[in-house]
Symmetry: C2
Subunit: 243 residues, 2 copies
């Protein structure tokens, strides 16, 4: 051990002794949950949400989506319907429509897809479509050129307001995720979306999943956006700092 390490060892010893001497007072100052919050991974492939008027054009007036498979978030589903995306540089077929219909059509692609299509899609939260690029959408009954609505989804955690409250998380705050394994990494700027009827789930796209070695259903730990040396257990007042 060199001088610096000896200093650390000595300081640590002093602190340990001080803490040990405090006895019961420790439980008063740290009311943290004992384990970090774990969240299940949900991987999103490219997909599209359609508004009624675009559904009419692409699949015929009054057409409805056919439920193929429920996804984890309540009420949402993958439909049988698919479209083709056509950009200035190329097209991508078999892009699945996710239901139910929404007020605004939104296309969610990967960064790699954006190069294939030739569309500079920004990394955005769902619904934040201002100044996002448009794209041509081709369906079996017609096609539509959208002026905007193409994004790369910003990674996020769905959580119910109750679960958020319990774990000192708030809608809109950012946390980090620790992925383990050969491609371990700390994924930063993961936005918390605390909304009614949400089920706890981390949404990442295919490239994020593959780069961090994640599979559907994997469990990962949420850590707060503190500097690493300030990484206390999750506490209400700590969480507030990180907004």
């Amino acid at each position: 051990m060199n001088a610096t390490q000896q200093q650390i060892a000595w300081i640590t010893q002093q602190v340990m002794q001080e803490l040990a001497a405090q006895g019961s007072s420790r439980s008063e100052t740290l009311d943290a949950p004992s384990a970090p919050l774990q969240v299940q991974v949900g991987i999103s492939n490219r997909h599209i949400h359609l508004a009624r008027e675009d559904m009419d054009i692409l699949f015929g007036y009054g057409a409805t989506l056919t439920r193929m498979k429920a996804v984890k978030q309540p009420g949402q589903f993958a439909s049988e319907e698919c479209v083709t995306l056509r950009g200035p540089k190329g097209e991508i077929k078999n892009v699945r429509v996710l239901g139910p219909l929404r007020p605004t059509t939104q296309v969610e692609i990967s960064v790699a897809d954006s190069f294939v299509l030739g569309v500079k899609a920004p990394v955005r939260m769902s619904g934040d479509l201002q100044d996002s690029p448009g794209i041509e959408i081709v369906g079996p009954k017609g096609s539509v050129k959208k002026a905007s609505g193409t994004i790369v989804a910003w990674r996020h955690i769905h959580i119910s307001p109750e679960d958020a409250e319990r774990h000192a998380l708030r809608d809109g705050m950012e946390v980090s995720i620790q992925a383990q394994g050969q491609r371990a990494g700390i994924m930063q700027h993961v936005v918390v979306r605390a909304t009614q009827a949400s089920v706890l789930e981390l949404h990442v796209d295919v490239e994020e999943a593959n780069a961090y070695g994640l599979r559907n259903g994997d469990l990962v730990n949420i850590i707060t956006e503190q500097p690493p040396w300030l990484m206390f257990p999750l506490r209400r007042d700590c969480a507030r700092w990180s907004s």
Copy 2:
């Protein structure tokens, strides 16, 4: 780490910062470089390295690679030649051959590619091909079924032994990379490859680049693989702990 250890870590960090701020005494105990080591990002798309015998089968006996573009590592180049990879589930065309020829044929694909092909390629360092799956390679003059050699490249940093020495890095050790921006993250388990005639460069694949928001030529900071609460500036003896 439990709460007590985290408190110790935090207090230790505070004390260390105080020590570091004490002026001249710092240079005696901390001989760290003033700035973190930065490395340029090089993004690898899927590619193949060919052995002489496979080059003969795929492109004709005695065929040679045609240099198309030099890559950053001295002597290496992208060739005009491409092959098709054919797996049990699908095939990928236009996979570029990287030159020069090597003793052993090696296929480097992404995780997404491995699903397309139906080949369970492990994440491995170049040359570590034991028990890796095989694949069929199709060229203009013939095709060959390899029994092994298909991998997903383990992310790594090329560095000369001199640069490594200067920055307290050693061949085979792992470091982490801090990526900034909307998709900021700490990429862990990045292997240092300190070999002669290497140029400092971080090699990641397309999915890693897109997930961490990296572009070719971006500069990122190298940080050592210390636990976060021991993340001091790079020092020779600190670096040695992380092997």
